[in-house]
């Protein structure tokens, strides 16, 4: 990846912003279940927000990944502001980045819950997540006790190859622009996690929302 800002081609955007049909959603959900990932369906973002609230335990350490989806439906606010949980972002915020790097690393690596989204969900039940720093990936794979992923139905793709194309051709340009605006630095597809199967029953929950959420 170069540091130059890229904008998704309109045709690419059209391909990856179209909501999946109910049949494709059902197919992806069934495949997730076969792969050890608990699928839940939500008609709206508000329904998904309520589902997340019902899954999180009061008082738990919760890390909300940076996610336009979570911000859009109010889940980020619930986690950081409701007082129901221990929001790890607030705890990490107060730490001295020079003196407490070790504490920050261990705290962020193993929350009770990590709540986030994905960049693509394939019809055969694989989840694709890209990360510039990689910091979000460890807890998703094994560090977090529970993983809750909220997925707008426009992210459903036919296969892993298409999912990879979605990341590179559609998500990356948008994310790069966001990172430059928000942080003054470029983003990058530096790490990609593909979850094909989950061994621990009930550890990962994927909420598929029949709305266009995030990118």
């Amino acid at each position: 990846m170069t540091d130059q800002q890229v904008v998704a081609h309109p045709d690419v955007a059209a391909e990856f912003t179209e909501l999946a049909s109910d049949e494709r959603i059902a197919k992806a959900a069934a495949a997730l279940e076969r792969n050890g990932i608990r699928p839940l369906l939500a008609a709206t973002g508000a329904d998904a927000r309520a589902l997340v609230g019902s899954l999180l335990t009061d008082g738990a350490e919760v890390y909300n990944n940076t996610s336009r989806t979570l911000e859009a439906i109010g889940v980020a606010d619930d986690i950081e502001r409701s007082g129901r949980y221990q929001p790890l972002r607030l705890r990490l915020y107060r730490m001295d980045r020079e003196m407490q790097a070790r504490e920050m690393r261990t705290l962020a690596a193993s929350p009770d819950y990590v709540v986030g989204s994905v960049h693509a969900l394939t019809e055969d039940g694989s989840l694709l997540i890209a990360s510039a720093s990689g910091s979000q990936l460890g807890p998703l794979v094994s560090g977090a006790g529970h993983v809750i992923l909220v997925i707008g139905a426009q992210k459903i793709v036919g296969d892993v190859a298409t999912g990879m194309r979605r990341i590179h051709e559609y998500c990356y340009p948008l994310e790069d622009a966001r990172a430059r605006r928000a942080y003054g630095v470029p983003s990058g597809v530096n790490n990609i996690l593909i979850i094909n199967k989950v061994i621990i029953p009930g550890r990962v929950t994927a909420i598929i929302v029949s709305e266009r959420l995030g990118f």
Partner: protein, 426 residues
């Protein structure tokens, strides 16, 4: 899903605080938010570009500073700590009409007492004037606390203890200092600064100490404008590439030096005594003396300051010399021990020594006028007021270490049980 989790900062809006760096009121709010772990963006009015970006041209009248913008968008002109705390919903009323144990202060002693008391089923409330953690809460790294081989920061320790206390059911009432305590039957009633009344069958003073003032002309006029008491966690980043002076010879001063050396161009530690060994732990002495950008000057004291609207230099005098030498300084952190915080107990009859430390246990009988009313002797941490105990730094004879404060706070709960059994109902 974003690809970039930049710095793990909160993603929802925090507080925006606009003011001048020389403002004492703005510093008080920065310190309050920082110590309570509340995210905020500080906008220095001296930087017009930053102000324009945040306020989008709306401007900020100098008379209305510091201006605090809350996450819901509401604005608090000429904001105070109390207004900010209320605006953020940090002010809670007590949920019970009476508690078994009322703890004054949420430093390590108070939090240890809260965890132990609540875990044993006592109805427990903690009253804290500023933020959980007390003096230790601003400590950047505690390396000699049992069970933390890699050290733990004071703020993280306080956060964990607060979570633990709340999990057991203890209530924490923050951001309001105690203004009075008086007898109420066999128990006591406390009044907070906002008029809230709390009844407790037993009371534990764990109110700790506040930093002792440096008695040098002009210093307190610069509070928040280059002069800070304690390690000033909200100011660490602002010290990047600056010249920092820390005054003090104890562990707090040593920990402040280690922290600021990571950011500052140069840190000078001024110690009045002849060496560090008499008051600082050896592990900290080893660290402080090994850091290249740290200069330790023993037998040296601050005798003056130079400033315009901000601190420019401290004037020091070394050894027996009468020469006053200016030391260019951007930030002065004063960590010279503490003064016991017992203001709220004035008028209650609580006996303190001349320095203000609370007298407990067998020392009570030796105090003239203690007038101990019970046939039994005072319990080990009990004051001259039956059922009122003291633990941690505020107590006369306490060891000024984190582990000691935690130990005393925990031990106090066993004594509270004895007192409650005495008055019935335990």
């Amino acid at each position: 899903m974003s690809m970039f989790d930049y710095d793990a900062r909160p993603v929802t809006p925090g507080v925006v605080l606009v003011g001048t760096r020389a403002s004492r009121g703005a510093y008080a709010i920065r310190d309050f938010l920082s110590r309570n772990g509340y995210p905020f963006e500080w906008v220095d009015l001296d930087r017009a570009d930053a102000v324009a970006a945040v306020l989008a041209g709306a401007g900020a009248e100098p008379a209305a500073l510091p201006l605090c913008i809350l996450p819901d968008g509401s604005r608090l002109p000429s904001a105070t700590v109390e207004q900010v705390a209320a605006g953020l919903g940090m002010i809670a009323a007590p949920s019970r009409s009476e508690y078994d144990l009322m703890i004054i202060g949420a430093g390590l002693a108070g939090l240890a007492a809260a965890v132990n008391a609540a875990s044993e089923g006592l109805r427990t409330v903690v009253v804290e004037a500023v933020a959980p953690g007390g003096q230790a809460g601003t400590t950047s790294m505690i390396e000699n606390l049992l069970g933390f081989p890699n050290g733990i920061s004071g703020s993280e320790l306080a956060t964990r203890a607060t979570v633990q206390a709340r999990r057991f059911g203890a209530e924490l009432l923050l951001a309001r200092p105690l203004v009075g305590v008086s007898a109420d039957g066999p128990g006591y009633v406390a009044e907070l600064s906002d008029g809230t009344l709390i009844r407790g069958r037993a009371v534990l003073f764990a109110s700790g100490v506040e930093w002792r003032r440096l008695d040098v002309p002009g210093v307190d006029d610069l509070l928040g404008a280059g002069v800070y008491y304690g390690a000033g966690p909200s100011e660490a980043l602002a010290c990047t590439d600056s010249r920092v002076v820390v005054v003090g010879g104890g562990n707090s001063a040593g920990q402040a030096v280690v922290r600021f050396s990571r950011y500052a161009q140069q840190v000078t530690l001024l110690v009045r005594g002849h060496d560090l060994g008499s008051s600082m732990s050896q592990y900290l002495i080893d660290q402080v003396t090994a850091i290249p950008n740290v200069d330790v000057r023993v037998h040296t004291q601050v005798v003056g300051v130079e400033a315009d609207d901000r601190l420019g230099a401290v004037i020091v005098r070394s050894g027996d010399s009468t020469e006053r030498v200016p030391l260019p300084t951007d930030a002065l952190f004063i960590c010279i021990g503490g003064t016991p915080r017992t203001d709220g107990a004035a008028g209650s009859g609580l006996i303190t020594n001349t320095a203000g430390y609370v007298v407990t246990g067998s020392d009570v009988a030796r105090e003239p006028g203690s007038d101990w009313p019970l046939p039994r002797e005072p319990l080990p941490l009990e004051t001259n007021l039956p059922g009122v105990l003291a633990a941690g730094d505020v107590r006369l004879g306490s060891v000024k270490r984190c582990a000691a404060a935690i130990g005393e706070g925990s031990m106090a709960v066993a004594l509270v049980h004895r007192r409650l059994a005495e008055v019935g109902g335990d």
